[in-house]
Amino acid sequence: MHGVNVSQSSSSPADRRLSALVRHLEGSSMDSANHSIAAAPTSGSTGARISVFDHVVRAPEDPILGVTVAYNKDPSPAKLNLGVGAYRTEEGKPLVLNVVRRAEQMLVNDSSRVKEYLPIVGLADFNKLSAKLILGADSPAIQENRVTTVQCLSGTGSLRVGAEFLARHYHQHTIYIPLPTWGNHTKVFGLAGLSVKTYRYYDPATRGLNFEGLLEDLRSAPSGAIVLLHACAHNPTGVDPTTHQWEQIRQLMRSKALLPFFDSAYQGFASGNLDADAESVRMFVRDGGECLVAQSFAKNMGLYGERVGALSIVCRTADVAGRVESQLKLVIRPMYSNPPIHGASIVSTILKDRTMFQEWTIELKAMADRIISMRQQLFDALRGRGTPGDWSHIIKQIGMFTFTGLNSEQVAFMRNEYHIYMTSDGRISMAGLSSRTVPHLADAIHAAVTRVA
């Protein structure tokens, strides 16, 4: 801002528009006689086309979703999108599960179905079934009515609603997130009003878990602080604690009354087994303590664009759960009133039908198995090329992503020379690979590691 002395704290809307106008004029080559400082920006004068939104700068693309934007612009036939974690078939195509198509057909054919507003907390059946899926059908917390579950907009929406609730009603406003974590976590929690700190997680030296660092950092967290935990298939690293390590984490957290907030976006997708992938959450719930769980059906049911998820809050008593639910409604109503019905209806249809549920587990395991086989193929391809370095982390890491360990220069090199797209932290989505494209990726990694520091 040149030449305009407007103090930020005391500027009125008119002053701000004036400064925007001045900034505009100083860059303008138009006849100055056309401009009157007093001209109201919204006054339809055809002179300067001044805008009240002039100070709204162009934001850069979201770093994760921006990868796909860049990929789409690339004309090369060899291009490969390993950015967003959306599953692709061996043919490189998006997949709608057969059981999902069937469920959808049933819904559309059912002439008794209506599109009336869902309750603020969402579809009741869906909520019950989602809670059972993550906590286990025989969970005492469910039987004792200590769990409130609200349908939300996939994982992101569940995290945001949970965070807003905590910012308003929980005594501690700091949340500890692992380093690194999904790129959107910090903004979700920050905008909800929580203050974000990190705990050590990934060890670049071992490309595994920095368990001692994790324990130290949680030990020094203030009592009652919130701790974000990836239930399985940590994003972006693919590094998960062992069962034994989870138990130690649980004991430490409970001894300091740290509040667990689970992000469960890959149940069934990590190991191929729904129960195994929920074990970390169930371990915490079994001890009778409280926790939050954000669930997403984007990946495990392939319902990405339908935005289906759920937030469950496990409370000490049924009475507390009831009151918590009433407050969750107050967060949701001014945000979007009530959640979208379509995705939740699909999930509910599948989860409540034994045959469809079985079919789903089979299709889910097939997706998980294909990813595990891509890991093996990439590992074998790098070993076959004699690529320097230990690449065993590729087969040790779990879930959709691999943290390659490549640095940002190497990532840029692979994009420019090989048309391979990934996030700048070196995370690749294994779901975007196929047997056909593994050699190209292996060549690119080999070149990046040998030619770029």
Binding site: R17, F53, V108, G157
Partner: protein, 396 residues
């Protein structure tokens, strides 16, 4: 324990009531003459088309379905409108009206800190919650005149004039909720004059385009009037009522800017607000709208179904008015019912009278005296007239 939502809580109470004459005039969801929910035929056709095509379920971009964003802006302004031709509208798919209002509110909080929103007195109950949660201060402009059960136009103009320059003025594009009272075209011109004089920024809530008069263009005339003056404005749209897509949560926030460059900047910042809220919006409702509006046969069919819905509401208004006039001997003028437009009617009943409607007559409505005509059948008009007359005259 939080209290139940004042609007959505009405339906919950209605469900719990087993009286045979009960009537739900709470939530604004359209009902047929048989008081059944209604899924439009064009919607069913669109869903079948979508299923046949085997569309995938990939993430939408943060700003939503491009085809939807295109048709929703064209529907609002007219495809040949200058704002569209000049690419000056930033359109982002939102979660129906509420979600679109919330994105706009967050934009205001971030880029116009300290600026207020002026909302009508009364207005939809959730407006203030949206601005409160978004951290945007608000105050009210006079709107409803209980003496005339009409518009307090002088009060409205005075309050808009008195607001500090650069205030966002929330206007209902048509079918004002909860009163059903809309400014006339001449009054809209005057409102636009005052807003321009004070360099205010108009912010339209358009939840009933096509549903009020039955004509999509007519119901958009207030918005188009402002756009034609070269003004910058915000408009939240909803397809809940006019396409019956309530539960699909489909709408959009549109920001008309002076230049296409500015529009690009605004759109990018709306995306930055949506990403940490829900990442990207749901596809299903967006695809339905894009398919209906983008196909000329379906579009024409939609217009016919919409005229039927709007027509049924206008006819129960008439029947209610006739019943009230015939049964009420006090000489009270009930014609405000005919003058009001859209789904709702502000009956002028006070809180105690409204409670009597529910406790004695099992008529469920919101405490501000609002009834949803969409929930009224021709067959029940006389019963409702009795209830209103009793509550009005025998309860204070």
């Amino acid at each position: 324990m939080a209290p139940p939502d004042p609007i959505l809580g009405v339906s919950e109470a209605f469900k719990a009531d087993d009286h045979e004459m009960k009537l739900n005039l709470g939530v604004g969801a359209y009902r047929t003459e048989d008081l059944q929910p209604y899924v439009l035929n064009v919607v069913k056709k669109a869903e079948n088309l979508m299923l046949e095509r085997g569309d995938n379920k990939e993430y939408l971009p943060i700003e939503g379905l491009a085809a939807f964003n295109k048709v929703t802006a064209e529907l609002l302004f007219g495809a040949d409108n200058a704002v569209i031709q000049e690419q000056r509208v930033a359109t982002v798919q939102g979660l129906s009206g509420t979600g679109s209002l919330r994105l706009a509110a967050a934009l205001i909080e971030r880029y116009f800190p300290g600026s207020k929103v002026l909302i009508s007195s009364p207005t939809w109950g959730n407006h203030k919650n949206i601005f409160n949660d978004a951290g945007v201060p608000w105050s009210e402009y006079r709107y409803y005149d209980p003496k005339t059960v009409g518009l307090d136009f002088d009060g409205m103009i005075a309050d808009i004039k008195a607001a500090p320059e650069g205030t966002f003025v929330l206007l209902h594009g048509c079918a004002h909720n909860p009163t059903g009272i809309d400014p006339t075209p001449e009054q809209w011109e005057r409102i636009a004059d005052v807003i321009q004089e004070k360099s205010h920024i108009p912010f339209f809530d358009v939840a009933y385009q096509g549903f009020a008069s039955g004509s999509l263009d007519k119901d958009a005339s207030s918005v188009r009037l402002f756009a034609a003056r070269g003004m910058e404005l915000l408009i939240a749209q909803s397809y809940s009522k006019n396409l019956g897509l309530y539960a699909e949560r489909i709408g959009a926030i549109n920001v008309v800017c002076s230049t296409s460059e500015v529009a690009k900047g605004v759109k990018s910042q709306l995306k930055r607000i949506a990403r940490p809220m829900y990442s990207n919006p749901p596809i299903h409702g967006a695809r339905i709208v894009a398919n209906v509006v983008g196909n000329s046969d379906l579009f024409n069919e939609w217009k016919e179904e919409m005229e039927l819905m709007a027509g049924r509401i206008m006819s129960v208004r008439k029947k209610l008015y006739d019943s009230l006039s015939a049964k009420d001997n006090s000489g009270k003028d009930w014609s405000f019912i005919l003058k009001q437009i859209g789904m709702f009617s502000f009956t002028g009943l006070n809180k105690a009278q409204t409670e009597n409607m529910t406790s004695k007559w099992h008529v469920y409505m919101t405490k501000d005296g609002r009834i949803s005509l969409a929930g009224l059948s021709s067959a029940k008009c006389e019963y409702l007239a009795d209830a209103i007359i009793d509550s009005f005259h025998n309860v204070s």
